[in-house]
């Protein structure tokens, strides 16, 4: 190989394509997937806490099942089953990511809810606050406080797992990089830049989360 291992021309050519894949798919999937996981995770955690056994037990089984199977298998399976009914592969991918991480975030919320002292529930009872208001005004605000750093870490972790969307042919950034490499036989620039874009996006976020963690501690 007499070509140099790094070509700035290829780098300049692939960068706009990578950024397009990043903003249109990687970022969209991460943000919407996180939103789903943050909301459903809380609902699952509350259900497991307050619902009677015939509801909370099956919920626990489903949660365990999702946690114990790989994301890639879930993506391929969901795509096979749902693609006749849902046109957007991206939508399927986002929901699978979101529901997969729901099971992890539910555990985080559970720990957060458990960390709210019993005296807080008792004070709410002593004031005759209705159950929903107790959750909304007393328990959730205190539970969230201690869970924010862990939730943030799972969001970053989901971000870094978006390349798995490639298995259902979503043209997210890493797939763009591979396609470019396949077309031009120049993988170095495209894969390196894709990695750098991940780093540039997730490092500041993780620093932010660490700072939040310190402030909340």
């Amino acid at each position: 190989m007499n070509e140099s291992w790094w070509s700035w021309d290829h780098a300049a050519a692939v960068l706009p394509m990578l950024l397009e894949g990043f903003f249109k798919y990687t970022l969209v999937a991460t943000v919407l997937g996180t939103l789903i996981a943050v909301v459903l995770g809380l609902i699952v955690a509350m259900t497991r806490r307050v619902a009677p056994g015939f509801i909370s037990t099956p919920v626990t089984w489903v949660v365990e099942f999702i946690r114990m199977t790989p994301l890639v298998v879930q993506l391929v399976f969901a795509n096979l089953v749902l693609s006749p009914y849902i046109d957007s592969t991206l939508a399927i991918g986002i929901w699978v990511l979101g529901i997969h991480y729901t099971t992890y975030m539910a555990e985080v919320y559970r720990a957060g809810i458990d960390s709210v002292p019993k005296g807080q529930w008792e004070a709410a009872t002593a004031l005759s606050l209705p159950l929903l208001r107790t959750w909304r005004a007393v328990v959730i605000p205190q539970a969230i406080r201690s869970t924010l750093p862990a939730l943030g870490n799972y969001a970053i972790s989901m971000f870094k797992e978006t390349p798995f969307l490639v298995v259902i042919y979503i043209p997210e950034m890493v797939r763009v990089a591979q396609t470019y490499g396949g077309d031009t036989f120049r993988y170095t620039e495209s894969i390196t830049l894709a990695g750098l874009i991940f780093l540039v996006a997730s490092y500041p976020t993780s620093v932010l989360i660490r700072r939040l963690e310190k402030r909340l501690a």
Partner: protein
């Protein structure tokens, strides 16, 4: 008779404000209260004394519905609180109906239990707005009046964590009073405080006892306070009433050796 001390005979129609009927409370195999019967008249202040583990705090927690009755009945203002007798069948009172009764009952805890995610003012306005249905403005003006009463007006926008234990407890008292309770339960409200902060809390409570006709059920180790505010003192041991009487009688001339031993140990 304690009924004679009721200042408001019209609404109580002679019925006791709080009535324990054959109350049993067990935690697992441990029987804390066994067939307990007593009444509190409207406006009466009753202090429960006795060694720790004698079931005093459990009595307060049962009235606040923080513990579930194992057996028997509690009536508040004539209405069944946790269970009712329907033709010999013991039926659980629904949560909604329970809450209607508990809105008349306020409780102050040993460890204050203020909401740390709210300011002092928000702690006090939370229930008036969301339980009584007061407007925000009404709730705030009411809270400000109560903060003045407990001497905490200048701290209204502080967080609970910025306050001393005595200050937190005074806010907790204001929070309980904001619901206009007819019954106030005081559960060892000075036990978690540094000794120099006990006085400010007891002073506030003595004012409230003097200015209102709220019925009070008090668990305390402050015997001077018990003597000052109580109409009646009940000595407990192992879940039963050993003896009861006026504070003068119980503290100066107790009838039972068990009471004498206890008072000797704490005074």
């Amino acid at each position: 008779m304690p009924e004679n001390t009721a200042p408001d005979g019209a609404t109580s129609i002679g019925a006791p404000h709080i009535e324990f009927r054959d109350v049993v409370k067990r935690f697992g195999d441990n029987t804390v209260l066994n067939d307990l019967n007593f009444t509190v008249a409207k406006g009466e202040r009753v202090t429960l004394i006795g060694p720790s583990g004698s079931g005093k705090t459990t009595i307060l927690r049962l009235v606040m519905t923080l513990e579930e009755l194992t057996g028997g009945y509690i009536h508040v203002g004539g209405a069944p609180l946790q269970y009712e007798d329907q033709g010999g069948k013991r039926v659980r009172v629904s949560d909604k109906t329970r809450r209607r009764t508990t809105t008349q009952i306020g409780m102050v805890f040993q460890h204050f239990n203020l909401f740390p995610n709210m300011t002092v003012l928000e702690n006090i306005t939370e229930a008036p707005i969301h339980v009584m249905g007061l407007s925000k403005a009404e709730a705030i003006s009411k809270a400000e009046g109560l903060l003045e009463k407990v001497g905490m007006s200048d701290k209204r926008d502080f967080n609970p964590s910025q306050l001393s234990g005595g200050q937190q407890q005074r806010v907790a008292i204001a929070r309980a009073l904001a619901m206009d309770p007819e019954i106030l339960l005081l559960d060892e409200v000075t036990s978690a405080l540094d000794p120099e902060l006990v006085g400010e809390v007891l002073a506030v409570l003595k004012d409230i006892a003097a200015e209102t006709d709220i019925s009070m059920l008090i668990v305390t180790h402050e015997m001077q306070f018990a003597r000052d505010v109580s109409d009646r003192v009940m000595m407990f041991d192992q879940g039963s009433i050993v003896e009861e009487g006026s504070p003068e009688k119980i503290f100066s001339d107790p009838g039972h050796q068990r009471t004498r031993d206890f008072l000797h140990a704490v005074l």
